[in-house]
Subunit: 197 residues, 2 copies
DNA sequence: TTGGTAGTCATACAGGTGTACTATAACAGC
DNA sequence: GCTGTTATAGTACACCTGTATGACTACCAA
């Protein structure tokens, strides 16, 4: 048997380079040559581990998603476990407040357009996104249903609102239009209206 | 004096071609040659009217913004003029429900990343965006203050929430995750909570 | 009619792109 | 130590990018 390397680790180094470059100069600067230079390897190594540019970007998207989930977990672990606290943590985990989360959001937006465009030509290409959105909605709804909710609150409708609110606020934080504190206040203020204190 | 052409009209034809191409294959397919072909003119004409690629994209962004404002006006004119109705129209005008508004939102997202990246290197480059966000917030707040609001409603906090909610919902409509009807219901449902009926 | 400028086109150029290909180095098993 | 597979590097290729340049056309003022 020949030389053995940790493929996952190598791949992650390279997708990290993609993120770093995107953060500095946008997705269009993440070329094979730039990625290779950033990671300190040859151009061919990028080909070798991903096959094509599309493969590289797909893997990057995947890795960013995984790290976002990890980040969410730490947010949740820091709570008291109540429905309201877990929900708050979930929503706030979307906020781009440090380099990691900024990068995640930026990458998501950068890859968003081509995803939408691709979905127009081939609707089945959008199934992953739909599934994720459904999961997000369900998660929010689940925590809402743990209550206790104020009388007359429509959990389903609130879940839809919160599911859209969180990324909306995230974008404003990302572009420097809103402070993270203001966004968190907005979330808390609205949760105050839903949960019995 | 030599031949005279309507520069604004020519420029708009070309930026329209950029939008059309972006809608079909993403912003990266909107090259000088593709734009020229789409508009049925020579490559040089694009140079002649915009000078550089950056000039073309900047003009495109501007034209899309202008058309969004026009679209908003038609939404508002269709209302009874009450604070609640105008606010609802304002928020719903962000929804990408036809080809025009879909294109506007897609272009906005496509140009968003480089805007954010540019703002990192040069914070002053973000002033326009900040001004627009402030104007949006003020507009929402103004209509809220026309009331009549239910007792205890914090208009300032609600303005921030609605300002983030509208584009958040818009993104879900754009990527096919949510129907426009569901988004409108979400907006109306929340406005019901703010305004006295 | 004529001159001069605005507009238009075709083409050239230097540089960058993703990818294919070939050759070499490193290592695990025999 | 040898062997065969994996990993890595270097390079070449065809194509596309934005931009610069020079020639040609259409028009209006004189």
């Amino acid at each position: 048997m020949p030389k053995k390397v940790d493929h996952d680790a190598r791949r992650r180094e390279l997708t990290d380079a993609v993120c770093q470059l995107t953060l500095r100069g946008g997705l269009e600067t993440a070329t094979f040559r730039q990625v290779a230079t950033e990671a300190g390897v040859s151009v061919n190594q990028v080909q070798y581990y991903f096959g094509s540019k599309q493969g590289l970007l797909a893997a990057t998207q995947e890795h960013v998603g995984e790290r976002s989930i990890e980040r969410l977990m730490t947010w949740i672990e820091a709570t008291d476990g109540s429905g309201r606290a877990v929900l708050g943590a979930f929503l706030k985990s979307f906020a781009p407040i440090d380099e990691d989360s900024r990068m995640a959001m930026l990458m998501y937006v950068a890859l968003y357009t081509e995803g939408v465009v691709a979905a127009m030509g081939d609707p089945s290409a959008n199934e992953t996104r739909k599934t994720e959105a459904q999961m997000m909605h369900d998660t929010v709804l689940e925590q809402l249903n743990r209550g206790p909710l104020i009388d007359g609150i429509d959990a389903e409708a609130e879940a839809t609102l919160l599911t859209a609110l969180a990324p909306g606020l995230g974008l404003y934080i990302l572009d420097g239009t809103m402070s993270a504190e203001a966004a968190f206040e907005t979330i808390d203020h609205h949760l105050d209206r839903l949960f019995v204190v």
